[in-house]
């Protein structure tokens, strides 16, 4: 698996740029994904989505359904795309350090 260097840290990622291990997540990782995912400025709302995803994942061992993410954050899907242009899966879950979405994508 390739590694990326960012902010003095090194991360092991897969071809799609997802982190290999949830526990290796750090503030530097967030900054790295921000650059990759076409996000200009990180604001409180980005952070809220990331922390909701991480809390949910820690508690349930899976990523929340889109509807649940919207409900908990209070952000409509449209707004989540404004925050994360590649969407909740490729954008937000990647930034939160969650495993890559699977299934019939």
């Amino acid at each position: 698996m390739p590694t990326v260097e960012f902010g003095g840290k090194s991360f092991t990622v897969d071809e799609d740029g997802f982190i290999d291990d949830y526990t290796n997540w750090s503030e530097e990782w967030v900054q790295y994904v921000k650059k990759e995912e076409g996000i200009d400025e990180l604001n409180e709302e980005h952070k809220k989505v990331v922390s909701v995803l991480r809390e949910y994942y820690e508690k349930n061992g899976i990523a929340p359904m889109v509807r649940v993410l919207s409900k908990v954050t209070g952000f409509k899907l449209k707004h989540i795309y404004e925050l994360f242009p590649s969407g909740p899966g490729k954008g937000a879950c990647k930034m939160a350090g969650l495993p890559k979405p699977t299934g019939c994508v």
């Binding site: 071809e15 509807r67 795309y81 590649s86 969407g87 490729k90 994508v105």
Partner: protein
Amino acid sequence: MAKHATPLLDQLESGPWPSFVSDLKQEAASRAKNPNNVEFQVNQDCVEDILGVLELSYKHGRTHWKHGGIVGVFGYGGGVIGRYCDQPEMFPGVAHFHTMRINQPGGKYYTTEFLKKLCDLWEFRGSGVTNMHGSTGDIIFIGTSTPQLEEIFYELTHNFNQDLGGSGSNLRTPSDCVGSSRCEYACYDTQAICYALTQEYQDELHRPAFPYKFKFKFDGCPNCCVASIARSDLSFVGTWKDDIKIDQEAVAGYVGGEFAPNAGAHSGRDWGKFDIQKEVVGLCPTGCMKYEDGKLAINNKECTRCMHCINVMPRALHIGDDRGLSMLAGAKAPILDGAQMGSLLVPFIKAEEPYDEIKEIIEAVWDWWMEEGKNRERLGELIKRQGFQKLLEATNIKPVPQHVQEPRHNPYIFWKEEEVEGGWQRDINEFRKYHQR
């Protein structure tokens, strides 16, 4: 000289059917030669490597693609199926090999001008290999690299006025039969509604917001040429409400042998002289037809509009004039809880622009399923889990006998509390007054 030896695949070049191996080799040779001096944006011998990796899979009897892949274009949550080879050193041309879904036009009618432009783009920025078309309907571009995705998307949208198709937990690309463009059985304009609803629900198509995937398909009549009843969560099947139109002269033409039955579909074999009694009247599933004194009669009240008689005598029998469609819900493949075909939800509804009544039902189904559906639960499975009754309530449709093939045979019947006199709040002491322990 080919890059990889392909002894197993070479065997598939013989025989009469168009060989995909020969076609791939032709594209590989054309890329090697590059007569138009294309500045290939992905590996020039990627098609050689497709053949190579496929040959290896033939040898091993196993796939050589890694699991999954999450790539796409900004703004959308689907449309691209990421894929990476598990032997990238051996086959660098297919190390990245993403598939792009391109939303096809209604009925898949094209001009060569459009197709040539697509091909030029795909040769330049992709492998040059396609699938015309994916089972859901999309034009499929097979094989490109991550950096090319945004480039191709820009080109498609800015110069072709063309969007991506759907993938993921969303509304997938709707598709249709050719409908009234060239079929006299079409009970509504399948292409018009397919187009209108595709446009209406672009947001649902590009940004996964559903518990799982959801498909629309539009068939102009019960012959179901796009197989909506088996391959779409909401299936739209054309039908009519009034009488089948009978042209007695043309009936005589069939009986006299002037017209071939089924428009000559069985002319490859001698089935004897056309026998209207045996081949039509006697095969009608409801037995509602009569042929007496050279006249054909149909008791339309008992006709289920199965299409059989019309299919056999298309010059003599025609669909009625009071046309619309039926909506069926819940078709899906076996995973998880077994295969399903669509179940009749709306027996008859008009299919007239702007399709407000139909949209109302679609959106009611979505509201219910988006709220109640479990993660990766298809509509058909939600109907099984919560009951058809719940679907009827959600869509505000009154239960009618047409909703069932047969009534239930078990007596495990739920009642709503308000339907039962006295409700559910009962006091055991009250009961004991009349029944000792």
